[in-house]
Symmetry: D2
Subunit: 439 residues, 4 copies
């Protein structure tokens, strides 16, 4: 890990209020315990026998998430707000529901406002009414996909958002979104600091691509893989039942191919898994075309799974960016469909290609139960973090433990598939594709 990584968690101030959440401080009394302020975990697990270890600096340890005995806010003064931003992801409603439940039932906080359609819900120019949230409203929202708050891309005018937060007397803001959203949250928090307004800004990292760094697993990811597997089943059946059938599936994954890689592992039916981290050529003796042709002639069918960010160097990307600041990608699915067809037409080989893009059906699915559990815990711990005066942090899973992670660190780099690591190693073994597909 690099020197500059500093896991120290920003706080609004000292915790002087006794928490209304009743727990025990005694181990062995068979009652659930508070998390103490000196409970941390190591980030780096790797060790070699006889390694000498120095003392730990606080900066290199991760603070455990969970309920504290003393909290920063007086619950009766709290007005909490929740906003969801960016594209849909399974589990958004589960997170919202868990936040509302924990605020309401555990801390007795009844003023909970849903900001609608992302950050623009703060901006008066759009004139979008907010939504009051309570347990009755969120009762069964986890059974449906999407977010009851609606969402939109884009950040918007930070001072105007800060104005709105001050005007509404919001002192806790939960932002559920990706990279752009978290950067926005950071900017908002800093703006409020300059005004000396005490607002806990807590992020719940949402990235169906699983590409936020220091976040072991993003919520909705398991559901996404489960749904992507269905698309692979279809592609495989279609390919298998045609003469020289090719099933081509595109899934999410702009900068990181985790969904494609995991989907390939979950089913043995993918023959070529193409992800942004894996450079490949189409033409040439080691390119996709030659390997694909070989496979078709030998086995009659093939399934190709491409992450949306794969093969961008093959196309001529415009370099433009969308409203969330993400660069516009070339459409690798359409591109491969055309190029592969032309190649085999030139070679005078009949192929039957079926192209499936299940992205919207993946994003909009309700969370499967294991994701629901994870979302419930993220939401609950986000509330505990906010009440304990943490700010500019997100809730993250590291080494299977929920921790507080400074947003600044999380957005400083991107997570991606390690081409030399065990995940990609297992993908190569499963697909049987060439280790190198560059000439």
């Amino acid at each position: 890990m690099e020197n500059e990584t500093n896991f120290t968690v920003p706080v609004l101030g000292p915790c002087k209020v006794q928490s209304p959440v009743k727990m025990s401080k005694i181990h062995g009394d068979k009652l659930a315990n508070y998390v103490a302020d000196d409970e941390f975990i190591l980030f780096d697990l790797n060790a070699r026998p006889k390694d000498p270890r120095r003392e730990y600096n606080k900066e290199e340890l991760l603070e455990k998430a969970g309920p504290r005995e003393m909290v920063y806010f007086n619950p009766s003064h709290v007005h909490a707000a929740i906003v969801t931003c960016g594209g849909l992801c399974p589990g958004l409603n589960d997170v919202i529901r868990a936040i509302v439940h924990c605020l309401w039932y555990r801390y007795g906080i009844k003023r909970i406002t849903g900001i609608r359609y992302g950050y623009r819900g703060f901006l008066s120019e759009y004139n979008i009414p907010t939504m009051e949230l309570n347990p009755e409203i969120v009762k069964s929202i986890h059974n449906q996909g999407g977010t009851i708050l609606g969402s939109s891309r884009g950040g918007g005018d930070v001072p105007a958002i800060a104005d709105a937060i001050e005007r509404m007397n919001i002192n806790i803001l939960f932002t559920i979104g990706g990279d752009g959203t978290l950067n926005g949250a950071l900017a908002i928090a800093r703006e409020l600091e300059t005004r000396n307004t005490k607002v806990a800004v807590i992020g719940i990292p949402k990235t169906i691509d699983n590409d936020i760094s220091f976040v072991e697993r993003s919520f909705g990811f398991e559901t996404a893989v489960t749904k992507a597997v269905e698309a692979i089943h279809s592609a495989h059946v279609e390919a298998n039942d045609s003469v020289h059938g090719i099933g081509l599936v595109k899934v999410m994954g702009r900068d990181a191919g985790f969904i494609a890689a995991s989907t390939s592992l979950a089913t043995s039916d993918v023959n070529f898994c193409l992800i942004p981290e894996f450079q490949f050529d189409l033409e040439g003796p080691n390119g996709l075309f030659v390997h694909l042709e070989k496979r078709l002639l030998a086995r009659n069918h093939a399934v190709i799974l491409a992450a949306e960010g794969a093969g961008q160097d093959l196309m001529n990307p415009t370099g433009q960016a969308d409203e969330s600041g993400n660069k516009k990608l070339g459409d690798i699915g359409a591109y491969l469909k055309t190029e592969i067809s032309q190649y085999f037409k030139k070679r005078n080989i009949e192929v039957n290609m079926k192209y499936i893009d299940p992205s919207y059906m993946i994003r909009s699915a309700p969370a499967f139960p294991t994701d629901s559990i994870y979302c419930a815990r993220l939401g609950t711990n986000a509330v505990h973090a906010a009440m304990a005066g943490r700010t500019k942090v997100l809730i993250s899973l590291v080494n299977n433990v929920l921790v507080h992670l400074p947003i600044e660190i999380a957005v400083s780099r991107k997570n991606s598939v390690d081409i030399e690591g065990s995940l990609w190693r297992d993908v190569l073994e499963t697909t049987g594709q060439p280790v190198v597909m560059k000439n």
Copy 2:
């Protein structure tokens, strides 16, 4: 019904062989019964009190399907073949499995050949090996989608196919396919007749669009609707969670909008159901655009479900045909996506459109249980029909009864949604869309 409709079933010759299927001819002995040769049903159920009725002509009655006491073929001489043609459809493997089971276990027929990749599997130029079929091979094929035989479009050289059938000594041919396939089966049967070769040619009508006439319900149709409903759920979630969200879904339905209509009924989330039978304009005071805009401004979101054959008059179709003789359609999904976007751009109204095409995921799904039951019965009764010397017939469900239907009749016209009937009436009530969308 028109005068020329003649339901008389072609037969190869008299049935002189005692069936190995042991059943009873006595009602009341608590043993399952054979179907007698004079068991027919009425096609037209409609009646008015005091209607005078003449005698029934045989031509207007439909022969019941089922096992006969006397059969045409000596089971020990039978070589049966099965071929699947055209696009995939849920339930193909269920039908294959039922045919094999009934031939093997009920009639003791052990020579069963699967012809691979459609009619081209008969043609020596392609050099495709056939596949021996038996209960072990088909044991669990119904749990996977597609067809284990593979499929292809196109008919091929009828005399060459007849040659192959003679060469292989096939005397029963089961063809599972749509319109084109059934026309091919008819041509093959006629060719064989001119050669005086006794082959029972039995069709099992496959049309995911449900558009073969005199066939009440096509196998796989219920599964298709069930899968299409999932796509609508996704489209609705995506639309509902965006600012002026539009979910656009395209499903199968070249000439008949049954899938789109039934899917609209199964969920209340479709606001505009567009099918080939329903003419509509885009522009003008009564066109889609105006109604869509109204809906978006009032309710913020809308879901549009288009059958692939809808709105063909709006585009400039090429008039070309594919290998099965189907005319090539304009892509209504892509067309609507572009046109709607441009309209709202001109109107300076932000819309967020998500376009979903679940067609391949629908076609390749394994049959749901109720379709499996239906497929099992189609396959079983196809075997009984063949053994009883019927030929040039298909197995059809009419008024909820399985009957023998001459292929000639089935291919003489197409089935489509009656715009004045109860199905479309119910769709209009469910979607709330305008009854007329032409200016």
Copy 3:
């Protein structure tokens, strides 16, 4: 059909009010049509060539369901009520939703009351508040199983119910339930007639067993079979993976074995299908034990599917009845589990039995899409029937057409699996079980 069957539909009086549902009376104008009062269908489809046919009597024809041009009630005076009774069944919420939608949007009726927990919701002694129904409340209830109104068994005091109906000024009552409920509806309607109170009492027949006569298919039945198939898959896996594994599954079916029979057809994994209509012995050379032992020794595993009403003669039933008047059955599942275990213990043969009772998981499932469509149509047509002044009728599917059926006829006998008919014939072929299992 017996002489006394009389399909004549009771009506409250002449229809003199123009329906607010706008439709066409002209065929060919591409607008949906009303149903005319002289549109009937035949019940008996069977015909033989040259059969002479007499004129049809009205009593032997079935009136088509659907919207009429003239209706009996003035929509602005209507107060409609809905009650659900008896055990749960997939699709109850779909029916409720369709009734509410059709009343509200098509007829403009806004006074719709849900009676809670069955007929007892009418009785003041229970003091159960009613529930106002409108489109917002029923918006997504079809996605959850059960009934939002709650349910209970038992009829209750008919005059007291009639009092409540009069007190609330209800003039349309929709009762969704089985045999007992329909008998109750009949009694209530008759009581109201004696009081000269004009109330349309419409039944929607609910019977997961599919055992109401003259009703081709009950709603929820397809979902029930689909869920039962899952239980068979489990039983098969468990049986197959043990030494002499036996999977024993019990499903609903008190007097009629339709679920068990259809489930056996949908999967090839059932080896013994036991239904109330099929008498069998346990002991003796032709009893279940011997055949089961033979199967286990030959194939190592077996799956038995028993309807709850099967084999009642083998046990000593108490003869008692539950609150809905249904006789209490012996528990065939527990009985077979014990008896089979003892038999093999005596024979000194190791068996591994796994007993699965999925009944509650079947009953409480949300309807699958094809059932949803059917429920939507039942509910809609129930409203049309009520508005047209029909009473003491239920909506039934006969020969694939929705009709009005007098409740009196429907409850006069029970529907059951014809042991000599095609369904049971197909079950025997699929399971391979002996045609006779009595000594």
Copy 4:
């Protein structure tokens, strides 16, 4: 952690054979890497700032799993065997398939034998033929539940098993099973050591209860929770729709309540979660009955989820053990059903109880995709471990990293839900049940 815990991994001997698995040893060359012999991870993540740390002892570090550059066995001499024991669990076939794939494709090992029906498949007295395994046979077994090898309980005669292993010249044995199976594997390995026969015995820990210690997550567990959630949905619908409805569900969990706890978290519908680790009374002011009655009167319905090992102290357990050595449990489901009914009968309160036991439907389900991925990795790494000469180890996930864990340690204690930890804390928050239910 206690002093005696020693993570040192037993090995058969030095690795002198170059692995046929081609990988890189260089970081940064974009090629997947071998695992080096000095790659370990920490078990205990907890840390406090300024903690002084001594050197790491090898005994307290966990060896990373994965492919080694040098292996112990010459692949061309290997005969591998796989055996599955005990009750079914989702993912068994996935593990088998991954082992076969890795042996066959990565190491070129073609002699792979499946031992059928557990350890008894080794014993000549049962005369059970073995099963040859290859990629074609295991191609799609992961789509079905259970194990293609069959399973049985019980260990059997260790010397006789060792004889069989020697007779067959097996030098790698993969045992997939729980506690009893792992103890058996240990005994077999020790017996073979005394004979100086070099056999790598590798365990893949199977415990649907998730109760093997030092194993973070057992395969099939996520699938089990997903299926259990379905049962809760049913119980909730049934309870909610009756007068004083009680849904009672029993799930697996003999000594550890992980399934019940996780299922409660995944859905908010459980009101009382009863697990072995949580002691509770039925009677008395703080017992279940009083709290249940309160809930029913306030909210009309309640859902109770009991792990099979819960409340054993309330019944009179026999103390007997089954063939795997597990003690026989009292049936908490049947017990609660009876006791609760009697309580409310005495109190003269109508209740409607529905009892669901989904255990067999959970155990026999095919693995969901996220479990499939995990199984694939367990199987692959088990092969790498065996080839590297490790023995008496199992593959475990610790702190989200796959490691080699000595079987001896794994079976030395049991894993259970920490009543003071975060999982149970979250369950209490979700169910809202009393923290203490003892008087």
